[in-house]
């Protein structure tokens, strides 16, 4: 469905559209970019979901900004926390922008109408969150701006409302499957994207001067995840297949408090309000691991401690395989007013009432720190420093890198607003000067071939079985703890799955709403991204942030204070990762903060 006013040209059955700026993805990052770009340039937003279905809406806890509304705070402290939280693999120039522009980003949203919770004086209220501290680690600070435990929902709704206000053109339930590149004056630049329309099966080419990717994460490479079924990393996968490198893919965040067995998230905001993690004997085990900030230590640390408690036999429940999030002392009032949604999740999905009983939790795959490399203007990089003019990425699909090896809670809703806005702004400036690039001949051919090959696939393998085996094995071998053995095993498993993927069958042969076909295409992206993740993880023989190697338990700054850059080279079709992935390094930008030991 589209809200566009112009009609496309149809040539050989392919629909051609023309815009200055095309934004792929209508989550927080995509719509924030659209609000910036829409009034300045002819802009279209293409999304495989209706905008309000995007997973930004699932975010709960808050958005960080040193407003200092409730206690002393400064954006410099926020920068430091972000750098330290990311275990020093953060590009510090980018982190400074994030923390500095955070204040305007929150105010922008409030001015657009976002109903933040308020202080008694009527200002935006703030709460505590993991890793956010006063004066370089002295004590937890109240920095997270929030709207109950549906901050992401309110951000997504507010941005959508403002897109309606500005009359932004949307193409909803259009799946972008390729980016078209044109060579001009010996330089490769993007000239459009190719999309598949769910309702009709029609193929569309969107020719444009600038393209912003804002396609979100890829948590579905794992089984236990807080991510939506639709978070299959299409945008990251498309870039990868086009030869654009992927940065820091080994760093995937496992959020400590997923509902045990289900992965549905319970926000860190619960611990921000005072909830406590306990093991089977009721011990507040985080006191042992992080004596200063305890249950508000960053996520990588808490997730590891939880798994360790379970491995060492202190897990709760009949199988001793989870720990407990105790909210019982917070009282019904706090739970109902500040944490109503997660209270309901526990009641609905586990039949447990957090007011009276502790909730079983275990780490859940949550956030991709890595992704499409960009600079601080959200421009996509072809290598360590070559900009691809006209190509932008923002949000979870991008790697700026403000999160380094471990993202702090509330820094992603911030990231999508700060860098979404930057992408929109810099793309608008770019298209003022740029000419409309010429499309190559038959730009949709690749996608038409892919779709037809899928539709006619009549092998013996089921998409769902391959996906399930991928997800379960990733949970087993590439989760919170990794070793050379587990990663080697996972490499072999992925190789076999890629081989089997060539022999799938699709049941639905129709043109209309063919989700069977799209699930098969999405699985292709998942396999690609899981492969790069594991390949990059094997190569990093140290432990840092979200990447914990049991066989190399220490951080090794001498050899690994660098970003990973993975390149697709050679035979892309080969199921052997080594045949087509080449790894390289990219220096970390250090401005004010020298790496120190990370203690909390």
């Amino acid at each position: 469905m589209s809200t566009a006013t112009s009609t496309p040209k149809i040539i050989d059955g392919v629909h051609y559209h023309e815009y200055d700026i095309v934004i792929v993805g209508a989550g927080g990052a995509g719509m924030r970019a659209a609000i910036e770009a829409g009034p300045n340039a002819k802009t279209a937003v293409i999304s495989k979901l209706y905008p309000t279905r995007s997973h930004t809406g699932a975010a709960q806890g808050g958005m960080a900004a040193a407003l200092a509304n409730v206690e002393e705070d400064s954006w410099e402290w926020h920068t430091f926390d972000t750098v330290k939280g990311g275990d020093y693999l953060v590009d510090q120039d980018a982190a400074e922008i994030l923390a500095r522009e955070a204040i305007d980003a929150v105010i922008d949203l409030e001015n657009m109408g976002l109903p933040f919770n308020r202080t008694p004086e009527g200002k935006i209220d703030q709460r505590r969150f993991g890793g956010h501290t006063r004066d370089h680690g002295k004590a937890p600070v109240r920095r997270a701006c929030y709207a109950a435990d549906r901050t992401g929902h309110m951000i997504l709704q507010t941005l959508f409302q403002n897109c309606v206000k500005h009359g932004i053109e949307f193409y909803n339930e259009f799946y972008v499957l390729d980016v078209v590149m044109t060579t001009e004056k010996g330089k490769k630049i993007p000239s459009g994207v190719v999309a598949y329309e769910l309702a009709t099966g029609n193929i569309h080419v969107f020719q444009s001067k600038a393209i912003i990717f804002a396609t979100g994460g890829f948590g579905k490479i794992y089984k236990t995840t807080s991510n939506a079924h639709t978070l299959t990393g299409d945008g990251v996968g498309i870039m990868w297949r086009k030869g654009i490198p992927l940065e820091d893919m080994e760093f995937y965040q496992f959020h400590p408090t997923g509902l045990a067995g289900l992965g549905i998230l319970l926000t860190e905001g619960a611990r921000g309000e005072g909830a406590i993690l306990r093991n089977a004997s009721g011990e507040r085990f985080m006191e042992r691991y992080a004596p200063t900030i305890k249950d508000l230590a960053p996520r990588d640390i808490i997730s590891r401690c939880m798994v360790q408690e379970v491995v060492e036999g202190r897990g709760a429940g009949p199988n001793k395989d989870y720990v407990l999030l105790d909210c019982t002392h917070l009282g019904a009032e706090v739970l109902e007013t500040k944490l109503p949604d997660i209270t309901e999740f526990a009641r609905t999905y586990l039949g447990i009432d957090p007011v009276f009983e502790p909730v079983p939790v275990m780490p859940t795959a949550h956030y991709a720190m890595g992704g499409i490399p960009t600079n601080i203007q959200a421009e996509v990089l072809a290598d360590n420093d070559t900009v691809i003019p006209g190509l932008y990425a923002a949000g979870e699909c991008a790697c700026v890198s403000v999160h380094g090896s471990n993202r702090l809670g509330t820094n992603s809703l911030l990231d999508i607003n700060v860098f979404g806005k930057r992408a929109g702004r810099y793309a608008s400036e770019y298209v003022k000067k740029a000419k409309m690039p010429v499309l190559p001949k038959n730009p949709a051919d690749g996608v038409i071939a892919l779709v037809e090959q899928m539709r006619n696939a009549s092998g013996t393998e089921r998409v769902a079985s391959i996906r399930k085996e991928l997800q379960e094995s990733m949970d087993r071998n590439a989760q919170v703890f990794r070793t050379e053995d587990s990663l080697k095993e996972q490499t072999d498993i992925i190789q076999a799955l890629r081989e089997r993927y060539k022999n799938i069958s699709i049941h639905d042969k129709g043109e209309r709403y063919n989700t069977d076909l799209l699930e098969a295409i999405e699985l292709g992206f998942l396999l690609d991204l899981a492969e790069v993740t594991v390949y990059s993880a094997r190569n990093r023989k140290e432990s840092r942030g979200g990447h914990m190697r049991d066989d190399f338990p220490d951080r090794n700054d001498k050899e690994y204070m660098v970003h990973t850059m993975a390149y697709l080279t050679g035979d892309a079709e080969s199921s052997h990762a080594g045949d087509h992935i080449k790894l390289d390094w990219k220096p970390v930008v250090i401005t004010n903060y020298q790496p120190m030991e990370r203690k909390y």
């Binding site: 997973h55 109903p115 549905i264 071998n477 709403y513």
Partner: protein, 248 residues
Amino acid sequence: MVTPTPAMPAVQAFTITLNIRRFQPEVDQEARWQSFDVEVYSTDRVLDALHKIKWEQDGTLSFRRSCAHGICGSDAMRINGRNRLACKTLIKDLDITQPIYVEAIKGLPLEKDLIVDMEPFFAAFREVKPFLIANSKPEKGKERIQSIANREIFDDTTKCILCAACTTSCPVFWTDGQYFGPAAIVAAHRFIFDSRDDAAKVRLDILNDKEGVWRCRTTFNCTDACPRGIQVTQAIADVKQAILRGRR
């Protein structure tokens, strides 16, 4: 490595029957019922059962879904005659000695199986000016001030995920597709009662129209259907009051 197993209560597996109202636009002249047997666990949701059918038995079965925990609004459908989200309806809470009936929500054009055309629904939403309209500029770089009490007045209607469960459970909407429907009124309510907004009058005029709030016959279907627990009928009543007496 530890893979957590689902928590209490102990998980049981059983076989249930789903009767699904199918419509394959490229094959079927009209919709038909088809029955599937599927093995599920007590912790499963209706969405899991639909996935099992699609993934293991019939790939042509089509429905929308994304978040799988009641937050994105993709999968409103009629389950045993009631509008609900498939991802928020646990199998164990249904009577599984009988087949479970699943069909698309009513009142919007049926496209395929459980998928309807959502465009008329979003068009009604866009009609009510669902965005903040403020005449005064806030102090530069500062938030507008709003008291906790004023924020509370419209809290309930900010929870809406635009799933359409309410609108498509409304008998007035079924017979009169022009009626804005409860969801659009909820969206208007959210701004009419926001102390920072100055365009209540404009929205109230829109809703005072013949296709507006006065169509509502207070059947409470919408409130029963809302998966976010929004007091939809109350919100409509608030708007009616505001038209008669002015905001607050």
